[in-house]
Amino acid sequence: MARVKNIVKTNFFRDSVQLLHLSEEVKKLKGVIDAALAMGTELNKELLEKEGLLTEEGRRASENDMIIAVKAEDSADIHGIIREIEELLTRPAESGETYYYSIESALKALPGANVALVSVPGKYAKDVVMEFINRGIHIHLFSDHVPLEDEIELKKAALEKGVLVMGPEAGTSIINGVALAFANVVDRGPIGIVAAAGTGLQETSVLITRGGSGITQGIGVGGRDVKSPVGGMMTLFSMRALEADENTEVITIVSKPPSPDVQEKIVNLIRDKGRKKYVTCFIGGQEFSIPVELKGRLVQTNTLHAASLESIRFVSNSLYEKALERISLPPEKVAKIVEDELSKLREGQRYVRGLFTGGTLLYESQVIFKEFLGDVWSNTPLNKDFTLPNAWISKEHSVIDLGEEEFTAGRAHPMIDPTIRLQRIVQEAKDPETAVIMLDFVLGYGSHPDPAEAHLSAIKKAKEIASDSGRHLTILAHVVGTERDPQNALEQENKLRKAGVILLPTNALMALVAGMIAKGDSSERTARNFFEKYLVGRR
């Protein structure tokens, strides 16, 4: 038997990552069966309820309160456990760490600081960022909900001072090999990336590394930068910087389709000021006509897979041939995987369920699905008519962005905390119409220390649920990571493979395989046509 106890601490704030780590520590205490520390948002209360961790007291908590929820053995000293939790909460910072209460004092302690990583709530970001701009310090702005007018004001001020404002809502930047926020350990090389798409930058920098080349810099500018109101201020500025950088030979620009005026500015800047080689990757964008002066110097692509390969091709043709072997698959191999899986699936199993932690990867998948399945349901659909009525419940073909607000209010991002995805994998497996589950595993600094391990029991359970009903379940995964990432991509892939998961070397190939399975088409010709349209560039 077990007892569940909730304690509510009113007006007590800890950020979602701190709470996640505290929860893990509490679970290790003697006598504790399960535990969670969470802010009292509706989402968190629902999850605690599902896990059998919520009591009447916890239900009364508001979103400004913190809930301590403990399930303990009957014989355990519950008061002793609570005392230990209180101690964990008031524990000072780790020994040897000095923290600062003002930017001024931090700057005194770290003379020569040249980058600020800012993740304060969006409405407060402007004041903090402006302090750094005025001191000539570059900024990576992770915060979301930064008002658009603040972004414009900040970027104008930054251009006057000649500093970078990478963001807002920039999940990733890699400066001189240093990972800012969520980023991988990638190789240095001659390709510079400007990205208005966080996981787009992760996927591209990883594929370039795994393909055998490397990057000079990966500059994340935030998704809104390429839209008309911001006008591409930081995209254009970063392109100019990479153009002037002696180590950069190829400049790769990654984003969802920019506003037409911004796209025109980008192409015009390449035409008028560019001397280097350029690859554009406007995922799902319309093909544009390449100015005649740029023939041979600009390649346009519409997937991250193609952008990475074409960037490597500009570095060297022989490297490109090797990269094809390392990060792509021949069309006949793709057709074979589809054929094998189709032979195991039962009639009536027809739907794809994509459970994504990376927004750009999800977006790219939807673009690819349009080719095979038309519009698919999502909480962030390409076509608004396909907005899921309830993001927690899939419908027909569905792809879910688990990094969106409805899944992250008061919780850590799913790249750090997989809890919600684990539940969802099992939920999808119970649906007899599910044929394919797609999973992205984004590694690197910022992410969960061992996401593959964390998913193994849910994957096993999902497979069991299917087989108990006489069904096969196809689980596809793509790991965005390198061997040098703290989680080691090869080890992660091996763990998943052993659990019966099919690994694909790129997100585009994962979407291709899922799309072909759902369409019931295993022809090599379909795969080959797709390769020509999506996996090579247009010159």
Binding site: Y99, L107, V120, Y445
Partner: protein, 61 residues
């Protein structure tokens, strides 16, 4: 409009990256794991004062 000056960015590309982290402590720890020189600023929102109180404070300070 004159062309933006990229010299500060080019300088950054040649320097050791040293980071001031403001906000999530987690990012500071991830930077330290990489061996990056960094300093963490504990950030909290300024308390919102009532307008009257703010006016009085402005007068006396």
């Amino acid at each position: 409009m004159s062309e933006p000056d990229v010299s500060k960015v080019l300088r950054l590309f040649k320097e050791e990256v040293k980071v001031i982290n403001v906000g999530l402590e987690y990012f500071y720890k991830e930077l330290r794991k990489q061996g990056v020189n960094a300093a963490h600023v504990i950030w909290q929102p300024k308390p919102e004062l009532e307008k009257d109180l703010e006016d009085i404070l402005k007068k006396i300070l």
